[in-house]
Symmetry: D2
Subunit: 447 residues, 4 copies
């Protein structure tokens, strides 16, 4: 390997230092973006008269060959970083040796890595956004397929009121839609720039850095612009932290769905059956069928939170402009992207293989306490009782029921009257009904 620096050094770098400082084992993931940036830079150098047409043509051919040969391949760890790998490989190409030495004109890795990472983040945020939208589609389908299932809704994990299963699934749809939209907005706000140099800009005129970029990663159709403030460009890692923040919220959302599904697949709730091809067993207990996938998804929230904190801490208190600490932004970002991406992929498949146990859900709706609010509402609407008073009345009715163990629907008119005159067996029979209950909620009828 030949370094991108070193003329001033008389000693060789210590092997332990080379190992400690290198990043090739993780930044090789940026190969495409680095090559793409180099293609643009070649064009800029050509426009600026720093490369001849012939030179630039050769360089572009060389870079494209590297792309073709190494995309998706494991790259040898002997290089310091991905920039060095690309530069070295170019230099070793027949006929490119001398021309390649010109590639680093007006260019610093400080600026280059920002370009690479921003391109990468744009691409990956869109990919993940699409995965979230896919998941939303699955949830919407499930909601539609199960539109007629009612179940107990929970607050504080205590039964609250009857709801539709579909509303429940659509709540998760809202969450994941917000994740998708957050990622989309994020992507739009990342602006690709060039020309920052190490921190002070370069001698090429700013207009040369205006570039409609459709060279390699054709789907992004982005434009590149000269940076407004070179110091800021090389000092900034906000775009990494923003991505990690978004993924932390996503990780939290996923952990909640996972928790619900773990609960629902217990014998005690027994609301769903996760297909056994998505479960694992125990080495000791032959009967076990465990919802491991959901548990791991839940547990990975720790990972994405940890990665967020990692980069926030790394950036804390760094003086301007670039500091080497900032190299450590990559592993946590890559990891969070992988973790969320993998979770979404497996979750989508799992959801397509979940059975909702309608009978079990429906059976729980016999719990009369679920209708307490509906009864209070009745007193408000039909009997003109102020709500807070109705709340107390029904609270006492429930208390009586729990004390005596007698179902409300078996209470006589006489007994009911003690609570309020408007409460009759007939009225209660109408109200204590899950379909009646969910149909009476009209504040949120969208469709």
């Amino acid at each position: 390997m030949s370094k991108l620096w070193g003329g001033r050094f008389s000693k060789k770098t210590q092997p332990v230092v080379e190992k400690f400082t290198k990043s090739i084992h993780y930044d090789q993931r940026l190969l495409e973006y680095d090559c793409w940036g180099s293609l643009i830079h070649v064009n800029i150098l050509k426009k600026a008269g720093l490369l001849s047409v012939a030179e630039s043509t050769k360089l572009i051919k060389g870079i494209k060959e590297i792309l073709e040969e190494y995309s998706g391949k494991k790259i040898d760890d002997k290089y310091e970083d991905i920039h060095t790998f690309v530069q070295n490989t170019l230099e070793n190409k027949k006929g490119l040796g001398k021309i390649a030495l010109k590639l680093h004109t007006c260019r610093s890795r400080n600026d280059q890595i920002v370009f690479d990472m921003k391109s990468y983040c744009k691409t990956k945020s869109l990919e993940l956004s699409n995965l979230f939208f896919d998941l939303c589609k699955v949830l919407l389908n499930l909601a539609e397929e199960n539109i007629d299932i009612q179940m107990p809704g929970y607050t504080h994990l205590q039964r609250a009121m009857p709801i539709k299963l579909s509303e429940y699934l659509l709540a998760y749809n809202e969450m994941f839609k917000s994740d998708a939209l957050r990622l989309q907005n994020y992507e739009i706000n990342i602006k690709l720039t060039m020309g920052a140099g190490a921190l002070a800009g370069t001698f090429i005129e700013s207009k040369q850095y205006n570039f409609a970029a459709k060279l390699y990663l054709s789907e992004s159709k982005t434009i590149v612009k000269p940076t407004d403030n070179a110091i800021y460009t090389v000092s900034d890692r906000d775009f990494i932290i923003e991505f990690l923040s978004i993924l932390s919220i996503s990780g939290m959302h996923l952990s909640r769905l996972a928790e619900d599904f773990v609960l629902w697949s217990t014998k005690e709730f027994d609301y769903i059956d996760i297909d056994e091809s998505f479960c694992t067993g125990s080495s000791l207990m032959p009967q076990k069928k465990n919802p491991d996938v959901m548990e791991l998804i839940r547990g990975y929230s720790g990972r994405v939170y940890g990665n967020l904190i990692n980069v926030l801490v790394m950036m804390k208190g760094l003086p301007l402009s670039y500091n080497r600490d900032m190299q450590l932004d990559k592993e946590p970002l890559f990891d969070s992207i992988d973790v969320i991406g993998n979770s979404l992929s497996v979750l989508k498949e799992l959801l397509l293989n979940v059975e909702f146990k309608k009978e079990n859900m429906q059976a729980q709706l016999n719990d009369e306490t679920l209708y307490a609010t509906d009864i209070a509402d009745y007193l408000v609407r039909e009997e003109g009782v102020p709500f807070k008073q109705a709340h107390t009345i029904i609270g006492k009715l429930i208390s009586e029921k729990l004390k005596t163990g007698k179902p409300i629907l078996e209470m006589e008119l006489e007994e009911l009257k003690k609570f309020h005159e408007g409460l009759t067996p007939n009225v209660l029979r109408k109200i204590i009904n899950s379909k009646f209950s969910v149909d009476s909620k009209r504040s949120v009828k969208k469709k």
Copy 2:
């Protein structure tokens, strides 16, 4: 105090439990927002025929009196929470007792607190955004006032190239502008809704929840809409986490400026003088003048990170829908808002009282190594040397200078020729000049 619940309970809540669960000592900060929401709710109940015109007029008057009497006042800790305080106070108003009992019709604190907090977040994010814009103005002024100061730019905290002090200040301007814009976008994306009830919606028709809200907090001119999904509404705290994420990035930005200013006010750098009215001394060492304000601003990054993690953790793995854990979102949010707000206020004043020591900055520009890149660039532009080769040549020149201790500007033509023929004393005299250097950077000329 009379609770908003309790009919079903036959025992009194344990005092230790009341103390442990209450939130009035911190959620009293929401008084205005809670009253404002109640004013809207009264109008909705009126439109829905659940309150007469006379009743609603009385309630509105009562709520406005509370606003007038208690805004900005300390509220007694005996109440469970701010909702209970408002409700109790209304009930105790002459002639309102019975009407007030109707206020909680079709309303749950689960929905109410989301409305309150979203209104609060909208208001506070705009306030903070303005503080960031104020800070930007100060930085822009400082940049302009000091437009002709050059100084060494740093990477790895090692001297890199000459830059303008103004570029440095403008880098921070970019950071804080991004903070301000992030807050603005955040504010726009928070949508106020009503009608979620506890989690299942209410029996009032959705159209009644459409409301152009200009009742109390007139500056926000927001509209209120019925929720799309009631379960989601009461389960969601993304808007808290998003706010905390933004403030974490801000805290990081502030820590970096603080670090730079702490460094610059050392005797060793000696680039700035912070006015002594912004410094403190030592109880032991009579000579000390310490940049405490900057240190505290730097240290507060820990606080805002911690608050972010706090809420992320609290939300991890919570099943839908509302859980009481979610009450704990408030203290960390309030704290981060305070910490960043206070930091911005004091920082703005401090910046107006900083003196940049032009002579000291300028003196450091005699360091010839700062011009190494400029000399290499010269070889590229005027002598056609490929950059990487030029880099090596100048690296060796620097190495020689360091070894012999001889300034480059004192080297004879003969000595210089050993490195490259194009290097002459005349040429170097032109290049080793900070004004020449910063003027030659044309990639980022905006203005």
Copy 3:
């Protein structure tokens, strides 16, 4: 207020700076420890000949008066910090004015605050340790009282094997015992020192700093020693982070117990009844009885994690020795101590008011799949089947049962033989029995 510094300053500190930098609103909690340290310091100054006997007697009297007058009282926010308050109050005492000016001889707040905080941490860690031991006692009692209750044990929240409820409760006992022991070890390892000065030590001889300290906080019986390394002493906040780390683990433990109790108090599990005086209700739903205390305890894990990260971040990358950032160690520490202390207090009371529903637990033990491992073990022990083979055999038996819906205990000999010859109705009747199952586990019989 008269500052402890300022001779060198010609301008008054800006009010916004005074407000931003002061700590009296939270460090007043250290009053006792600061006074205690001052009492020791007076004795040291006396021993060193820097105070006369008469002077020291007066100062000690004055300090003790402050202790008496202000312990547990709210202290006026006008002072900069607790040290300034004590010093000012002393100076204003009749006849002490001039003598009090000598108190700060050979003393720096850098050293003083370390002493105060270490004393505070010693005291508080022991207090919390005792609260954990109290909780353990409650758990041990509950385990004993419920020694004959069996219930399903869970892994992955799926029913695994029959266990004793007592074993479950004792698992939490182990956790909280480990918390208590961690705190005890922590306390022992904090060594109190004096004599660091600002960072360089003082001119008083080290032997004078050896002091058996039983002056004020008599229960701690600690000795004070001269510091080994003054720079280290004033730079170090490990003892804060260690405390916060321990409390984070405790917070995690508490969140797990809380989660279990939230689950167990659902209608679906219905294993416990939390006394209603420890629950709260809903403002909308009259029937609700929510386990809010457990939810808040669970949610507070976020708080203690956040406080830990806060201080870790604040300390990151600080150059030696003391930096003002370090003032921000106090609020997070105080908060974590309060949060855990309050949680323990309320949890202890709650546990004394929980009813374990034996019948419900016992009813679940009819689930035959709970005994799968026991049946496999039988094949190993009595039939010599290699375990892994037995595991497969019983896995198939369970699979058959689930497919056909036929209870194992109703299967005929013929059917059973298909799986293994050793499986007979008689044998199975003996094995499928929760008492038999828990009794056969002999690896962990302690008592």
Copy 4:
């Protein structure tokens, strides 16, 4: 691969699920510990009569062969986890097929992984502890070699008082010694147990689990005991979090040393020269020599903090006993161990190649303000001025010096008298002397 479970399953696990749930790519690091545990388990089974002598001899031979063949080798990713790999490999050994099926008798991976991880943590904590002690030795040597260098000590990064460089280095020695001791105490407190089974214990008698373990990892000489509470054992990950907490403090310590060394290697401080074989250069700026190693060490603090939070979050709110989330404890732990281990190794080498620039340090000691405290102390000791008064007097002297620019040592007796009669040129010449200053600090003289 043949799974350790599956008899009950009629469908094959989805490939996407296998990929998502497997851990072999990281838990293969536990090979030695897993084999070691298996060797012990074989002996326990033999003692319990569940394996014959011949069977156990064969199994032991087989396990030892695996150890020999695979230690330190990359293991194929096709296995689910390390336990499955060992089991499968055993089963495939000639003549072991049937015997190997008995190995999982009375054994669950829940218990096994705890044993493996505890053994691993014991080993690694001792290794790291030794690395810290090594670093301490280097620091002690450096302190001794540079015993006669004085330099300015800093608080708030402002010059405070003269100190010895050795005291500074020894402050770091104290920090790293505390890290080493914390690791040692940690190691001692990890107790190895067996016999927990999945969560309920096993049918083997507890006494069989008493085992003096010197089989494989001979240096640890640990004893194995039966677990006190099986549920606790399989539910507990405190030992992981404790390790991560210790390493977070270490990471913080390292970040502070790194910060100091980054500062000291600036041109502005210029106190040290890091050998260029430990530095790297810039691809753009030929003159750069950057302290990258120190920057990366500083930045890695984010990594270890993030890993700690990761596991804390993962464990939050998990019901007892084992949940699959807990598998995610490994990657963060392994990563923190690697990061700290590598940092220590490279730091030790770097320290051996640092030159302390005595002249530059000494030159800064001409700064007269460094002696302000010494002059105040003089007034206290020799002139009987109360310290706080002396502090004010010298504060004014410093103020005068700064205003007029006149060195104190050039002030005439007349001028000095205005501040205090005791201040004479002669006296000041004696005091304003760095050797005099450091020698007068007698509070911390250890040696």
